[in-house]
Amino acid sequence: MQEILSLAGANLISPIILSFALGLAAALARSDLTIPEAVAKGMSIYLLFAIGFKGGVAVSTHGIDQTLVLSLVAGLILSFGLPLIAFALLRVMTGLSNIDAAAVAAHYGSISIVTFVAATSVLQGRLIDSEGYMVAVAAVMEAPAILSALWLVARSGGGGKMEPGLMRELLLNGSIVLLVGAFFIGAITGEQGLAEISPFIVAPFKGVLCLFLLDMGLIAGRGLRQSRGVVGMGAVGFAILMPLVGAMIGLGAGLLVGLSLGGVVLMMTLSASASYIAVPAAMRVALPEANPSVYLTLSLGVTFPFNLTLGIPLYLAVAQIIVGG
């Protein structure tokens, strides 16, 4: 416990977290600080390219162990399954409509790549290795949750039919294509390729992540300011409970699959994290009746900061106790 708190503390005073806090504070104080859309998009492209590439390189060096396929399958199952659990919890804990509940559930089945990145940098900070192909698992987990959500809505007769073309849109979503593409480039060019571009994708990575989290904080803060009263206590409770539930399930999956300590932590983080970029856009298309400020407030305003600050260190501590090492 002691240990967890100290790690959480150390984690809290990292430039990354503090940058997020700065953005959050600035937005809540109604400062006019903003980061241009093009710059924010540029940073996310950089982060996806870098994280994918490094994952690929890791695979090219450590080679593909048999757990790769299992991990991908586990990711798929988690992404399909977690929304069902989330939906059930939401029905119990909140008064959200079927459609809103399903839309929120989709976000928690999918993943937040920035949370994933934050977890990897915590692992690096403590010199804990992890399977490079976990970025591929992250990619695999992005979309399936959306299908589960649509199924939940259809089941309760609330429309939400699978819009034609939506499926390929989801699979060819820019961030998935970039993440997976960079992963393969890294896997093909390996250490040598990394040597060529590491001054770009490795050295400045954390700094860029700071500015990106500043932006995330600004957006989260703006959202919180505007959605006052939109989400009740129950929903907020869900947004903190669900990551814990997800992490535990992710822990189980990671152990079953036989991942390393680092891999288990990442699997927990992926399961615990909620999407706030790809899924919201998909929901506007597939479930327009769902209220965006509900799912954005919960995933970006509550769950994201929770994972960033307390969640990740907690998952790491738990994994260390159970996996050992």
Partner: protein, 102 residues
Amino acid sequence: MQTHTAKRVEIVIEAPLESRLIRALTETGVTGFTILPVHGGSGRSGVWTREGQVGRAGMVSVVCLIKPERLDGLLDAAFSVLEKHIGVVSITDAQVLRAERF
């Protein structure tokens, strides 16, 4: 200079639906339009801005100039996409040069 009457239709629609709107327009034979970026706005669904957004958030504005007789077809197409979604459609009378283009 010789001008011709036309209608100017301005459709403010959610960015994630842009591709669908374009498809619907093209299917009804509307192949001329201009897409303007939208920086922010406010409506029944609340206030929003593009600042710092990473995903395909916010709205876009699609402007179509068409012959008056083709207006209804366009509106039906637009409405088929817009129906369940937020956004607005406005029509103004206009004059255009080079009618052959419309």
